[in-house]
């Protein structure tokens, strides 16, 4: 029997493209969970929120989804800082972030999903743009633009975050806060302010990822839930707080999911990321490249 | 006297940072050992490795003739190792009496095998709280305590485990002169009743008057170990504290 090589290659390429997108989705969690130790299980809610806002402006004003979220990113940033402030005052300060902090974010995830459901309904929503539809063909490779554009955008976003962390004072302060909060305080930087900025960034990044998401696939409110597993699987697999690790893990997961969907059918897809997560937690919780 | 605690070639790293480097330490039964060193020298890391809160990568810890390798912290406590934490870690939702009760329920109970009677537990709790001067606040929660009182609770809770070896990690920071005297007297009494004590402190007067032997840790290495009067005159020690 002829082994379907071109199917496999295309599955791998699709997986890589998807992986690039997953890296952007996870970048936000890498910051909030990997560096700030905040288990924002509600992260996917902000991704979906970004998707729906992009949808709204696309349907009503024909604005490109990526442009929408780029322009609105300060708004999302402020939303993020606001949420962190509530989280800090209610939980971190009182030392109750483990149980109640988690419940809080779970509630946020839930409420966001239901509100979107009430406003937009259960139907799948999709956006229209000039690059959704056409594909580039290179030999046996089939590169749909609706996946290529978000992938490229995601990698740019990911690179921007990496540069921010490595070369700006605030960025390096975020890294410092993740390693030694006390030392940072002694260096006269306010760790709470740094965390607030970082969390704001993570939410803005999530919304941007939402724009990419609705380009890749149609969206409905409960889609966020699938991403909880993916995002944390990638984060843990890549090693908490390691940006390069996140990229590698995202690509890897994308490829595994793509191959599974191609050869075993899409109904197994949700289990893949969560299964990977369970296996990683059980056997190598420090991740592939973790500290 | 044979060594109750024997630490051999102990090494611990955090990523690229070497916290402990080839540390060797022996404590004889009934001894009073003082452990000093500048901040960040690895004293608390050493305690954590001895007690099992952290696992050392190199070297070994032997207690009471048994290897402690691979044993969880609670198992080491069952065998007679107890410690107080440098930054107090009380059980915040439990009263002081209940805080003291936990080691009794889980360590002493475990050792004797037969369940302790409720009355004897309560009696012992009161006794311990009285020893540290906290009996009036027995039903209070830890959040009602001052910093100083929390340190006393830490010590009382470690004592409740009825250890063979007690490691007191900076239990006296912030105490007044008379309070330091009280704690020292308490530790002395414990030692006289047969409990080996390792005192980790910055307060030199306390360390000098208490210790039979003094060890000095600097940057993860032990640089001196001997009689207190000799150690404080050791040029390496003087250099570590006062600089060149």
């Amino acid at each position: 029997m002829d082994f379907p090589f071109d199917l496999l290659i295309n599955a791998i390429v699709a997986g890589l493209l998807l992986g690039g997108f997953y890296a952007a989705v996870t970048a936000g969690i890498s910051i909030s969970f990997g560096m700030l130790d905040i288990v924002n299980i509600g992260h996917p809610a902000f991704i979906i929120l970004g998707s729906y806002i992009a949808y709204f402006f696309n349907i009503n004003y024909h604005v490109d989804p990526i442009l929408t979220c780029l322009i609105l990113s300060p708004v999302f940033y402020l939303l993020g800082t606001g949420i962190y402030q509530v989280y800090y005052l209610s939980f971190e300060k009182r030392g109750q972030q483990s149980l109640r902090g988690l419940a809080f974010f779970f509630g946020v995830l839930f409420v966001t999903e239901v509100m979107l459901l009430l406003v937009f309904g259960v139907d799948y929503r999709y956006v229209e743009a000039s690059y959704i539809g056409p594909s580039i063909h290179i030999g046996i490779l089939d590169l749909p633009l609706r996946m290529l554009v978000p992938c490229v955008g995601s990698l740019i976003l990911f690179g921007a975050i990496q540069l921010f962390i490595s070369y700006t004072f605030t960025g390096r302060a975020v890294l410092a806060v993740s390693q030694d909060q006390l030392a940072l305080q002694l260096m006269a930087a306010d760790p709470i302010r740094i965390k607030r900025i970082a969390f704001g960034i993570s939410i803005a990044v999530a919304a941007m990822a939402g724009a990419f998401l609705i380009i890749i696939q149609p969206v409905e409110p409960s889609v966020g839930r699938e991403y909880i597993g993916r995002v944390f699987a990638i984060c843990v697999l890549g090693g908490l707080g390691s940006m390069p690790g996140t990229l590698v893990a995202a690509m890897l997961l994308g490829v595994i999911e793509s191959i599974t969907a191609t050869f075993y059918g899409p109904s197994w897809a949700p289990a893949v990321s969560f299964g990977v997560l369970l296996l990683t937690l059980a056997f190598r919780p420090s991740g592939l490249l973790g500290r | 006297m044979t060594a109750l605690l024997s630490v051999q070639n102990l090494g611990k790293r955090f990523g690229g940072f070497v916290a402990l480097d080839d540390v060797n330490l022996e404590v004889k039964t009934g001894e009073r050992l003082g452990l000093i060193g500048p901040n960040g020298s690895g004293k608390s890391t050493l305690v954590n490795c001895i007690c099992g809160t952290l696992q050392n990568e190199q070297g070994s810890v032997h207690f009471d003739g048994q290897s402690m390798d691979g044993l969880a912290a609670h198992e080491r406590t069952h065998r007679g190792l107890a410690r107080s934490f440098q930054l107090p870690r009380p059980f915040v939702s439990l009263s002081l009496a209940e805080n003291i009760r936990i080691p009794m329920l889980y360590t002493v109970h475990h050792r004797t095998g037969t369940p302790l009677h409720a009355e004897s537990i309560s009696a012992r709790c009161s006794e311990l709280l009285q020893l540290v001067g906290l009996e009036k606040k027995a039903t209070h929660l830890p959040r009602d305590l001052t910093q100083v009182e929390m340190r006393k609770l830490e010590l009382a809770r470690a004592m409740a485990a009825e250890p063979k070896l007690l490691i007191a990690d900076e239990a006296m920071a912030g105490l007044s002169h008379s309070e330091i005297e009280d704690i020292l007297a308490l530790l002395m009494r414990l030692n006289e009743s047969g409990i080996t004590v390792i005192l980790i402190e910055h307060i030199m007067t306390a360390v000098m008057s208490f210790s039979q032997r003094l060890a000095v840790l600097v940057s993860g290495k032990k640089i001196a170990d001997g009689k207190p009067e000799d150690v404080v005159r050791n040029p390496d020690v003087v250099r570590a504290y006062l600089g060149e």
Binding site: V39, I41, V86, S90, Q96, S98, L99, R100, L102, A103, F104, F106, G107, V108, F110, V111, V114, M115, L117, L118, I228, G229, F232, V236, S267, W268, P270, A271, F274, G275, L277, L278, L281, A282 | C51, T53, A72, A73, H74, T77, H78, A82, R83, F85, R89, P90, F91, V92, S93, L94, E98, R101, I102, P103, L105, Y106, T107, H109, R157, A160
Partner: protein
């Protein structure tokens, strides 16, 4: 109040509730009441691990559904005996099948308990956050497995025929209600017993400061495993009668997110440090939900739960029980 007296009072209250509900002779009371009592079991079970030990379980639906699907699998097996079992042993199987519900409940409890133990063993050595995420993962993985397993109906779901009558009681629904009521009594009694026992003190120490608990001699991993297993088993037991209650079980309803949210919201709103918290939270929130579902819509009802959860977690972290306790303490000081 000592435990035997408490147990007696709990049983008596349960019997009184049952008798009172029979008086109006309205079937709907039992149907609505079943859901609320079921949540008493689920939220009390959740609280043993969540409130007492401090480990959040987002996968209540998984353990609940495991119990439900054990029942479906065994019921389906019972109807297809002749095709599945060799002829020589068929008469024996025909004797024991269909399995009586109490047996199914025990089986559901065992299956969920084992899975709870397994999940715990794999992840409890890590931080609490990882355990929470793993439970979420468990829910999705199990749902995917069930959706792809045609024997229990796959994504299409399975029908479980509810017998019409139960001898001596009248409708089968009343029998189901009695069973779930019994489970509620069991879980409340268990929760209270744990609270006051040596085990309960160990759980509290783990919740407050796991590191200090270890240093004090508490075998934290072992206790956490006990909590996870007990919690999972109780949830599985609650799930076992569910297929008979609902008649048609589809994965999307068995694994519904509302199970996860409610079993977290009810104890957090009622109060997590106490056996009475989940009970109070369930009765309040459960009744509220029944009312809003009927009067407004089921989506708004679910929104309400989420909003209340967030509000209580921020404003009243110790729940209603906590608020009451603070009032009493304030009055005592005056």
């Amino acid at each position: 109040m000592r435990m035997p007296l408490f147990t007696l009072i709990a049983i008596v209250v349960a019997i009184v509730v049952f008798v009172l509900l029979r008086l109006p002779n309205v079937e709907y009371l039992f149907v609505a009441g079943y859901t609320i009592v079921q949540y008493i079991v689920l939220s009390t079970a959740w609280n043993i691990l969540g409130g007492y030990c401090g480990y959040v379980n987002f996968g209540s639906a998984a353990f609940f559904a495991l119990g439900a699907y054990s029942t479906v699998a065994l019921a389906t097996f019972g109807t297809q005996l002749d095709d599945l079992v060799p002829e020589s042993v068929a008469p024996f199987f025909h004797l024991i099948f269909p399995l009586p519900l109490p047996v199914l409940i025990v089986i559901g409890g065992v299956v969920s308990g084992i899975v709870g133990f397994g999940t715990g063993y794999l992840t409890l050595r890590l931080r609490g956050a990882f355990f929470a995420i793993a439970t979420l993962a468990l829910s999705v993985v199990l749902q995917t497995l069930v959706v792809n397993w045609d024997f229990v109906g796959g994504s299409g779901g399975a029908y479980v025929v509810r017998p019409g009558e139960f001898p001596g009681l009248g409708s089968y629904m009343q029998y189901l209600f009695l069973l779930i009521l019994g489970l509620a009594v069991l879980s409340l009694v268990l929760a209270r017993w744990i609270e006051r026992s040596r085990l309960g003190y160990g759980f509290a120490a783990i919740r407050d400061d796991e590191l200090a608990a270890e240093a004090s001699g508490v075998p934290t991993l072992r206790l956490k495993l006990i909590a996870t297993t007990l919690s999972g088993a109780l949830m599985g037991m609650a799930g076992a009668p569910f297929p008979y209650y609902i008649g048609y079980l589809a994965p999307v309803s068995a694994f519904g997110l509302e199970y996860a949210v409610n079993s977290i919201a009810m104890p957090l709103i009622g109060g997590t440090t106490n056996w009475a918290g989940p009970l109070i939270g369930t009765i309040l929130l459960g009744t509220l939900q029944q009312v809003t579902t009927v009067t407004i819509s089921s989506a708004v009802n679910v929104l309400l739960v989420g909003v209340l959860l967030i509000a209580f977690v921020i404003i009243a972290p110790n729940g209603i029980v906590g608020l009451v306790q603070e009032r009493l303490q304030a009055r005592r000081r005056k």
